[in-house]
Symmetry: D2
Subunit: 424 residues, 4 copies
């Protein structure tokens, strides 16, 4: 009798031939992938994000049953030799050295923008104008103005059948997607607190060089735009509403850093011995309110010694709580406040069950996924959105909302931390 | 050879007769406890804190080799039958029903104040005026004005040989004391971040009654004074400097609550069916700056479902980081940033070694202590301070500093979260 | 509405005057403690266990509402000066230097035996013959023969109204008592696996001296009797049945150790420069079967570098699992296998709720207890057993059962690990 | 000055153009992948392991700079339609339905065997005879006899330039590889204890059907061969020596299970309503000795409710300890016993630093990998072994050693758990 209480999802992938996990081709897959319409991708940029997106495009159709067949068609960068090497390494069929040429190509369906934030608006607007779908890395732009025009263009393009998504990939960790599902189902009840940090430590050493991420003209902002944008989007996504206002404090701990020894994008002919000014924030802290009354706190920093990628979020509601830590991305912590007190506690859910988001297509329980799989899931979802004409999440409008919060944070920090409402 | 690398402190309490842990009487203890001068304690209040302090006074001399012999002489409360029962339960020799009578008794050396904050100033000032040493529960007072007069009186009394300590007992968890030691030794280097929360959940239920802790006239404030005071003091203690300024946000989530069914102190003849107004904060969040440049964030709440006593603090410095959680009070987490990267990580130090603060007198490694032992350690330290004429830590001046931060938090919260400097 | 789902036990100790936790005297306590009949304790031994038992006797009546009033009447040891110092330190009213004299005293109700195992049988049998109640430290004896006579004597004494308990204090950690409750309620269903270790590291250093615990004539055995006895009793207690048989392997890693520099009990006039032979096991591992079919594994060692007091037990049943670690003694880990897979996980129960065993008398939720409180609970339960004429748990018969398992382990280890059934 | 203590490896991948992580093509990659000699892979089997190996072959050359270019040439399975679908799904260029045909093809360099254990020997021997390199899934075979002939054939083939590896992929988790490195460097000193479990729970439900893994004729054994083989190999790898002997106990908890409803390999035309006999062990526990004197315990089960993939190993040595849990595969726990006691503790190393094994080619610190990446690393190492003529690890001889341990475990379990030496 006790056995019958076991849920039937406790399966092993070799269980039977109907298995739809990776162990077996899915039933629906009666034709070849080649028989599906292609989705020809042109990617701009080939550094960290370019590599991650390449893994996403390469893998999505091998794991999930997709309506379109992603094709790694073109990769684009300014240095011809480097982009050629990147194409070989990451498996792209051809190269371009001018993103404008890429955008104009007839044999491209989607433009995937993996460049620093200062070029997002120009490329995305051109791609939308050229009739392409767009995937744009976060943050959407470096200013609210840019983001506004991008969101408007995306809305107009959507009316023409084009889809534009912004790359907040941390929505697509199975554990965060499961958390969103549980919040939406009311498992937490009315929310009281949201607590979010994104802690890294790669700037602790004052001798770390002045890369593009430390220069306002390219990066827009520092920890705020890089890490803060992620946690703002994730918090709004999980809570299900946009932030109402913020009170912020930012700081640049180390104001002068050595210039990189090699030439770096946009830094021609610098002497290797010199130093340069850090023009972005090193850390940003802010408190915030959600319209429904929940209080929130945020912290983004690159100076938290020993914290490598500690995106942590906790939500406390009247009925329960959830907690997540990106350094343990296969886990979700859940406290069910309706349990009897003597048996209640935060439980560590291993988010590797077939019932969890994205997991029906992956490995058996307990066989965890990694960081890169957020990009596989992003590719999967975007392909479905395109094939089915669905409005993507997060849309450029969602990206604009994050941009407004970033702007309010900067405004509050400049105005002595005064509470600064966020326009919707 | 490898064996010789073992540190000699790895001992078992039965090891030999020189052992000075609880297994054996300490060498110095050649006389009887009875031969030591007594320290006659009179305690005002007998609820939660009264019980905890009783355990402290009862146990300190049984575990530590003290210069004075603490005597549980008098316990004081307004309800004669209740205080009599409390005396029997907690082991006090006699009772009083008027704290003024207690303060005037010649056979009392120290007044231990365990009442709500609204009576701290009056009792403490009278006790100091009567020549007694004083231990006062936290927060020191309900206002900066009260705290200022208390700190001044304590300074004057110190010149006369009296000692006055405020009961921030969380300085005396071995793990926090060890953390302070490590910060003071420079193991963290220059501090960049301090992150502190004190999360409880006993107000999540809107039907929880309106106790004295929810009424401003008695409690002074809500989560802020109760939990916030603890984390402000602890953060300042660990960092080693007072806060420079704050930007704050407070909230009362549930504004009406049922009145308690029984009569409660200060609430005579209330109908059991009614509701009353919550006049304190339910939650307080603030960001802050330390003079040396470190950034801090604080959160105190009683609405964090599933968090029972989660006083958590993390410090990030250029050379290392420390983290502590009161729910696991025998542990301290330490990241040594000077370790080679491939072997570095947050280590879980079980703070139960003989080299750790207070531990030389306790159990073998791994045999943990509990919450109440902070009061044993507080009693131990205070007895030493009195016997040796040492300025106590935390002093009433330290308590005043916390009061100033609390006031600044309330001021900032009222002024739209604007950054509010703290007078020193 | 969500609020009403909250359980009413989420209380704060200052909530109201009916509070029965330590914050307030309990309602039943209408009389003084002095009005209760006394239970006059005579304790033999004053080292580690003597100190721990003293804390238990001193505290039990201050926390719990007991039917008898424990009195620390006599402490006994062979060295007159040392036992006098121990009496002062630990609060015993008088001393004896001969346990036979103690046992014969008319003003003693209970003999508490805290000596090494080689003297347990003689003292306990004499005490029972003298009409005393007995508390005997674990392991009950050094041989099955001794334990058998002790269990028989205890049964006969019980018929005369005497109570005899063996000090397996780890049954009285609130978390283990809660675990037993859950197993008994069927929350785990049919058990399949039991996994137990007790890991310490104080013998890793080969220069650690040859104390009495390393000599077979006094200690009986090494890790096996010291640590193994604890985990055997705890496993049988939690599972609810005795072990059926074992297959064992033992080892002495370091066979010669330096003699202690000072004189040690039973080691008169030894040269400080010499070494002696370790005559007990350093580590013992065994697999086992329970009659109901569950499989078990056990490991006891003092060579697990970095593990200070890692008594860990995990039980896996058809409906759920439980896990406990003594290094985090306020926590119990529970997996409810009947939860939907997407929300199931091991939950960390903070065993500090009023509904948990022993906790109704202690601090608010999240304010943890320590190692020594197991002795407070042991004293509490024993006082109740005596007052109410109840058969104690664990009884001497339970202690005998553990002794039989220890003997079977040694027999199996000598016979090439062959599976060795345990007589019941 | 403190800053200079920081190690220079704390980098961000966008740091500069010399970056060799995934963000940038590696410097050595001057030619195209296409310019490299191909390694044409033919894979037999396409279920769980087939999917995992496909990910490995597809990804290895995209992440690492390989001397040969892996080509997914042929996939082989008996059901033509299914294997065609698998080829499409997993990206294989062609299909075969007879492994003998695959082995004979001239355009295949390596045969990758992903079938159940009963066919390993025949396929591997044929592949080696045909001059192919071989990768064979674990366990190497179902009997010592098969494994012996396979190891002999592999040795002979190695003399002819062929490489044969067995797929113990858990050696290639970065954390286990780092652990091996630390043991080999002497960071643990002389080993005393090894503690290993592999816990899953997918058989807890007695209604789970009788798949091939529960039938001796195909699977060879149950938990023992499936999970036990992994932990035997991993323990021997980490310790650096083969096991000397074992004392074992096995059990089949549920002896009858429903037959699968669909046709399953080797089970033609079964009625869906019937049940069949489980002919393998459900759980296997054994203690063991290493030649150097360390003691070990092993447990493999599929009945540990709530444990999904808990391969856990702990090693205790005179100088330190290591612990690993596959459910948190990006972490390694290390206790350095030579640290001062007050600062020592198990540290959680996030094994995501560029100095960690395999990590120089992956993502920035804290961006974790997943289960499947063990197959990427396996493919990488095997390609290097082939290109450089290196003896692979683990070799078929290593696989044979595991087989001998499995046989000794079964022998001991049959002989009442008597200690059974393992022939080398």
């Amino acid at each position: 009798m006790t056995g019958s209480a076991r849920t039937p999802h406790v399966r092993h992938p070799d269980q039977d031939e109907e298995d739809t996990r990776m162990g077996q081709p899915q039933q629906q897959s009666d034709g070849t992938e080649a028989g599906k319409p292609p989705l020809r991708v042109g990617m701009v940029g080939y550094a960290f994000m370019g590599a991650a997106h390449s893994q996403g495009w390469r893998t999505a159709g091998r794991v999930f049953d997709l309506p379109l067949n992603p094709v790694q068609a073109v990769i684009c960068g300014r240095d011809a030799a480097a982009v050629r090497a990147a194409a070989d390494r990451h498996g792209w069929a051809s190269t371009e050295t001018d993103w404008r040429a890429l955008v104009e190509r007839d044999d491209i369906d989607l433009v995937d923008i993996c460049t620093p934030g200062d070029s997002h608006a120009e490329i995305a607007l051109a791609a939308l104008a050229a009739g392409k779908h767009v995937l744009c890395e976060k943050p959407l732009a470096n200013t609210v103005e840019e983001a506004t025009s991008m969101a408007r263009a995306a809305e107009e393009a959507y009316a023409r059948g084009q889809v534009a998504m912004v790359g907040f990939n941390y929505r697509r960790v199975p554990a965060t997607a499961q958390a969103r599902r549980m919040v939406a189902e009311g498992r937490l009840g009315r929310l009281r607190h949201v607590r979010v940090t994104y802690l890294q430590d790669w700037l602790v050493d004052p001798e770390f060089p002045l890369t593009w991420r430390l220069r306002k003209e390219q990066a827009g902002s520092g920890s705020l735009g890089d890490l803060g944008a992620h946690i703002i989007d994730l918090a709004q996504y999980l809570v299900g509403e946009p932030l109402a206002g913020v009170s912020a404090l930012t700081e640049t701990f180390v104001r002068q850093r050595p210039l990189p020894t090699g030439a770096t994008r946009g830094l021609s002919a610098v002497s290797s011995a010199g130093t340069g000014e850090v023009t972005v924030d090193d850390a940003a802290l802010f408190t915030a309110r959600f319209p429904s009354g929940a209080l929130a706190s945020f912290e983004a920093t690159r100076y938290a010694t020993g914290r490598k990628n500690a995106l942590r979020i906790e939500l406390n509601g009247e009925r329960g709580s959830l907690a997540f830590d990106l350094e343990r991305l296969n886990e979700l912590s859940f406290h069910d406040g309706t349990e009897p007190g003597a048996e209640a506690g935060f439980r560590r859910i291993l988010v590797t069950e077939p019932d969890h988001p994205y997991l029906e297509a992956w490995w058996p329980p307990g066989h965890g996924l990694g960081y890169e799989h957020t990009f596989v899931h992003q590719a999967r979802d975007l392909v479905h959105d395109i094939a089915e004409g669905r409005r993507p999440e997060p849309s450029f409008t969602d990206g604009l909302q994050v941009q407004r919060v970033l702007a309010a944070v900067e405004e509050s920090a400049e105005k002595n931390s005064v509470y600064t409402p966020i326009a919707v």
